[in-house]
């Protein structure tokens, strides 16, 4: 039999017209909806863009960018927080450059995303911010140096963990200072703030709550009833009340707990305690989900090979459980990043709370109607940018992990 030649589909099943018909103008009601919603959409976008470009008062916001970035961190010491950023970019670059295929792709994606952001800020700095111009150049250079360094010497991958560990110490020392009155003089945490503080809180919260959460999750799955009940109670009580109450409670009770006078414990530390403990309870639930997803057979196989209970947990169960919950943990990180905005309740001036300061500056109040709308949009845009990028990365990660395990 002769093979019939394939023909192209008829006109109205392909091309722009088919798409329009399928997606916008399939029926009368559909067409009405399309016209109305396109109209509304255009109106909203034109209105918003018009307002942003013409009526909005951005000058006051622009004048306060340093507050938004670091709050009252001394102007002559800005090289220290930016030095930390440079350090992170260097190590991230090294890791991205040196890591192989597979998970390396994700790290490289993260690196390039950060690098693009740094590049934009560097360009802005070169034009508009003379005080930090060369510091941003340093950050960008560190990123590139790290990346190509990593490409050239993939061997550094072996010592990466130590480098990251050391960088934590260096970062803490840089931000707080070592004392004296020179370049490394101590900066009181009262002067910390802005986006720097938001990042510090989010990173410390997730990093410290990670081991705590694992411990709590294991406790909740322990076969020993006492340990189980204590873990369950702890997790459920912490999760029962919202973060803002724990921040408030920490600000009241942490000094009492440590039996020292309240002013000896900084608001930052209190906030960190609350954020970490709160995050740990949620982390525990995420990890527990992962633990439940590991089949019983894995445990049995490990025990049958003679591994001890602890070895089984550490080498077999946890690695699988944690891999399964990475997307959930990224989700939690996004949540925590957003939730750091609640530290206003303990009197910290994070990125969000700085906007309240700026809004009540006399110059802002002179502007008719204030600049609350401008501030809100700015805040929303910045938070959104980071949270959205993280969620996109998380979805990619989820897909890649899904492929990996199959």
């Amino acid at each position: 039999m002769e093979v019939l030649p394939s023909r192209r589909p008829p006109r109205d099943a392909r091309g722009v017209r088919a798409w329009l018909k399928q997606n916008l103008f399939g029926s009368i009601s559909n067409s009405i909806i399309s016209v109305v919603s396109i109209g509304l959409g255009v109106w909203a976008v034109v209105g918003l863009v018009g307002w942003i470009l013409t009526s909005a008062h951005w000058a006051q916001l622009w004048a306060n960018l340093r507050l938004f970035a670091v709050y009252r961190y001394p102007a002559d010491l800005l090289w220290r927080p930016l030095g930390v950023v440079a350090l992170v970019m260097l190590l991230l670059g090294l890791t991205a450059g040196a890591s192989g295929r597979g998970s390396g792709e994700i790290i490289r994606g993260v690196f390039w995303w950060f690098f693009n952001l740094v590049a934009v800020l560097t360009v802005l700095g070169l034009f508009f911010w003379p005080a930090v111009r060369w510091l941003w150049v340093m950050v960008a250079a560190a990123g590139l140096l790290g990346y190509f360094g990593g490409r050239a010497f993939p061997g550094v991958m072996r010592s990466m963990a130590y480098l990251w560990g050391a960088s934590v110490v260096v970062a803490v020392l840089l931000l707080t200072g070592t004392g004296g009155s020179g370049a490394l003089r101590t900066v009181d945490t009262k002067q910390w703030g802005g986006f720097m503080l938001t990042l510090v809180l989010a990173i410390v919260g997730i990093a410290v709550s990670f081991p705590l959460g694992i411990a709590l999750a294991l406790g909740r799955r322990s076969r020993l009833p006492v340990i189980r009940y204590v873990s369950v109670t702890f997790i459920e009580v912490i999760r029962g009340a919202p973060l803002i109450t724990w921040l408030f409670i920490a600000s009241l009770l942490v000094p009492l707990l440590f039996a020292v006078s309240p002013d000896r414990i900084s608001a930052l530390f209190r906030a960190m305690v609350a954020v970490t403990v709160f995050s740990a309870a949620y982390m525990a639930e995420n990890v527990r989900g992962g633990l439940q997803a590991v089949p019983r057979g894995q445990n049995e196989a490990a025990r049958a090979l003679g591994l001890s209970g602890w070895q089984t947990t550490r080498l077999i169960v946890l690695p699988q459980a944690l891999r399964a919950v990475i997307p959930a943990i990224v989700g939690q990180a996004i949540g925590l990043f957003k939730d750091t905005s609640l530290v206003f309740i303990v009197g910290l001036f994070d990125f969000f709370n700085v906007s309240n300061t700026v809004a009540s500056q006399p110059q802002s109040l002179l502007i008719p109607g204030g600049i609350r709308l401008e501030l809100s949009l700015f805040l929303a845009a910045v938070y959104w940018y980071f949270a959205y990028r993280m969620s996109v990365a998380s979805r990619q990660l989820e897909r890649q992990l899904g492929v990996g395990t199959r």
Partner: protein
Amino acid sequence: MSEVAAPRGPVRADAPDGGTRIIEIDGLNKWFGEFHVLKDIHLSVNKGEVVVIIGPSGSGKSTLIRCINRLEEHQEGRIVVDGIELTDDVRNIDQVRRETGMVFQQFNLFPHLTVLDNVTLAPLRVRKWKKAQAEERAMYFLEKVGIPEQARKYPGQLSGGQQQRVAIARALTMEPKVMLFDEPTSALDPEVIGEVLDVMVTLAKEGMTMAVVTHEMGFAREVGDRVIFMDAGQIVEVGTPEHFFQNPREERTRAFLSKIL
């Protein structure tokens, strides 16, 4: 399930005299809650013997084999493996597990580790071998099961038959004195069962002590020294494969065999 007591008291599945007893189970009883899964089991296995345990599902055969390395805890009776009694003593349990290898129905390979890491994990962590030594032994056994070229892959990239062979190599690398097989071919596609059985046959012929729960009667016939039929938590009949497949004594055995052969 009829509660007919065995006519002459519990059937003893003792190993023939003259060998070295490596597994001794005496008066074993086990309950899951109120359910009596294992009833008065007496079973011993000599060094180098291949014991095949058959029986309908739910007869307790898997539970029995899992008691031998204490994946299941028994409530009554004695289990002695290579002269070590399984008690609440953690040290004894660890020793027994070290000396017994186990192969599971669902393979239970560790999906986050490569084949080689799966195989070397226990030797490194439990036997505290050097890495080079562990990998050398691992490769030896992977070659033995016929898949050395897959060593760097992850279990998820292998077929079921290959995975089960890795699982066997993983157990063998610990150089156990006894190998326990818990329905090793039940989860496999029919066309790959053969490759796993071949490995097991070779192993049996090399003199490994094996306790095998399986439905593969061909395997039982070819290398089994003794076949044990279990039903409703007790040993119903014991015998050589020839005896077993040609003229089983018990009615229940006959009924079971007629269904599966």
